[in-house]
Amino acid sequence: MLVFNDLHKRFGDVAALAGLSFAVHPGRILGFLGPNGAGKTTAMRCVFGLVNPDSGAVTWNGRIIDEKAKLVFGYMPEERGLYPKMKTGEQVAYFARLSGLSPDAATAASSHWLTDLGLADRAADKLEELSHGNQQRVQLACALVHDPVVAILDEPFAGLDPIGVETMAGVLRRLASRGTAIVFSSHQLDLVADVCQDVVIIDHGRSVLQGDVGELRHNSPTRFLEVEVNGVPWAQPVAGIDAVEANGRHRYLLSRNAEIGPILDQAAADGEVTRFAFEPPNLTDLFREAVRR
């Protein structure tokens, strides 16, 4: 288990991390969320010693992460970068060897990952000759080529087209099914909801919400009600109940135990009720609620 234990880090007057704590479990995918500047990248860099926390530590199976442990971790930094003039296949194999694979195993792993990511025919091309999206796939291959037990991926989906997103999501699911603990940050909350089992939302350097996505939604004290009458959204005022307008959707905000019968009756009085959805908050709702913005 990878544990971020009470991490504090200041850069001058700015507190990048202010007591961040959470855990990542083997075989599970954790979405690491937070507004820009919340401290996600700093926290991820702490895993590899790229940033030394002022206090607190990141541990793997109860031990401080040393140079040896780092070699079984995979990292995809937010600021992408590889050797532009190096051939793609050679590049992936190089990082595999740096992680301790033998030359033969590294070549085989490079070939395997490039094939898996749909880049088998580009192995002999220089990285700079690839499109942005394909370069991102190579970056992922470099992070995962040594079959890490922990994968720390900073914004892995940023800039990918829908097919790229699908491919990358598939890779992460397969990796998790083999027991890898995965942490990835993203601003695409629908995607996080789709791919992750766990989520940690941080703000101002500390965790403001964390847990199993399904449980967090289920345990939330609020529920949203969305109604359509005669096939169109129904937005009549309901006495004592607040309404929320977001992204063109009109939803009523209720407590988990709210009585919804009277609202159904009121809607039915206006015509045929074609949709009546009483749902827990989605991840976007939880995020907004957690960071209160």
Partner: protein, 395 residues
């Protein structure tokens, strides 16, 4: 995986990246190629030198041809004679390039272009012949002529041994070695700086740093690029040795001297390069743009430049106390000691002290440079101040 194998992988990548670059390969093949063909060309030109033809018109003193031949031999000239019926015919041959000079009578010389050696050989030769004739007419013996020409026998002694041809050639070899050393340390040091800067610029360094320590990256880069420099020095030095031995420029063992200079060059290149390349590497981490390289690269140049000049001074006075001291100072010892060791018999203990001092300073520099590298390499922004880099790195 052992840290040593990681450094090997890092060094290999840096070595291959530079070694495969077309610009580097072209420059290497071109310079070594040129040096390699110069020797055979000189030998060929020497062997094929045609004798200078001297056109003779009218009468010269008896014995002139023999005397000119003797004078020419002393001046390392090969001459032969061709007699022409008149000045017009001789000058026509001169303008066609068939002869090098026309000697009209005893005192009139016509040359295509001024040639001090040829003029001296001819005028000296004719004058000697004429002198012998006059001496014979006056009934003077050779001893009388000698007494007239050289009335006193001077003796001359020097308290310093005279500079032999070997000394001169050794100085030239040391100077060539010094220049090669200076250029190599600067050139490959700057390659290290460029490599560090490029890794920061392309941001690949964060991926590498997630696997290895910052110092390993720096050491790997210094080894990889340094090996390339070593290969270039051996290739260049080998080519120079080959070319001077083929050209047969002096009557001493040039190959032996060349091998000695090359050995010293390799030793002091390795030591000097190690020192300066860690400095270059640390400085490279403070910048992320090619445009900023020149400004930052000035510091090592300013530090090494006095060494280059001191090396040239040591060429002339290798055992002067000032040069002895300079050859022990780590900033300059690679150049000054390399020169002194070539041109003089430097005591072993002095060389040992210079090496120990330089190695110790390099070790310190690896520590300081490693910290600056660590503190600067992940900083964003165009330039990182050394103090900021120092502070942001923690041990």
């Amino acid at each position: 995986m052992s840290p040593v194998r990681q450094v090997y992988e890092l060094a290999k990548r840096d070595f291959l990246q530079r070694a495969r670059s077309k610009a580097f390969l072209m420059a290497m093949v071109l310079t070594v190629g040129i040096v390699l063909i110069i020797g055979p060309l000189i030998a060929l030109a020497d062997g094929d030198e045609q004798p200078r033809v001297i056109a003779l018109v009218a009468e010269q003193p008896v014995g002139s041809e023999q005397a000119i031949r003797e004078q020419s031999a002393m001046l390392d000239l090969d001459v032969r004679f061709q007699r022409y019926p008149d000045l017009v015919a001789a000058e026509a041959a001169l303008s066609r390039g068939e002869v090098a000079v026309v000697v009209n009578g005893a005192t009139d010389l016509v040359l295509r272009e001024p040639s001090l050696r040829l003029s001296a050989a001819i005028t000296g030769g004719i004058a000697t012949a004429q002198r012998q004739l006059i001496a014979a007419e006056m009934g003077l013996s050779e001893a009388d002529v000698g007494a007239l020409l050289f009335p006193l026998q001077f003796s001359e002694r020097t308290i310093e041994p005279a500079e032999t041809e070997e000394d001169e050639v050794t100085e030239v070899a040391a100077l060539v070695g010094l220049m090669l050393l200076y250029i190599s340390i600067l050139m490959f040091g700057q390659f290290v700086m460029m490599g560090v800067m490029e890794e920061k610029q392309t941001r690949v360094v964060e991926v590498v740093l997630s696997r290895v320590k910052p110092t390993q990256i720096l050491v790997g880069k210094v080894i990889g690029v340094g090996l390339l420099g070593l290969i270039q020095i051996v290739a260049m030095g080998g080519a120079l040795i080959f070319t001077v031995s083929i050209a047969d420029l002096a009557e001493i063992d040039l190959t032996g001297l060349g091998i000695k200079v090359l050995g010293l060059l390799i030793l002091w290149y390795l030591l000097g390069y190690a020192f300066y390349s860690f400095m270059y590497g640390a400085l490279g981490a403070t910048i992320s743009r090619q445009e900023d390289m020149q400004g930052v690269a000035m510091l090592p140049v300013l530090l090494i430049l006095p060494g280059f000049f001191l090396g040239q001074m040591a060429l002339l006075e290798p055992d002067l106390w000032f040069n002895q001291v300079a050859s022990l100072i780590p900033l300059w010892s690679p150049m000054v000691m390399a020169v002194r060791s070539t041109t003089s018999n430097v005591p072993v203990w002095e060389v040992a002290v210079a090496i120990v001092l330089l190695a110790a300073t390099t070790a310190l520099l690896i520590k300081l440079g490693g910290r600056i590298y660590r503190g600067a390499i992940l900083q964003s922004g165009r330039k990182t101040k050394l103090r900021a880099a120092w502070r942001s790195a923690t041990d």
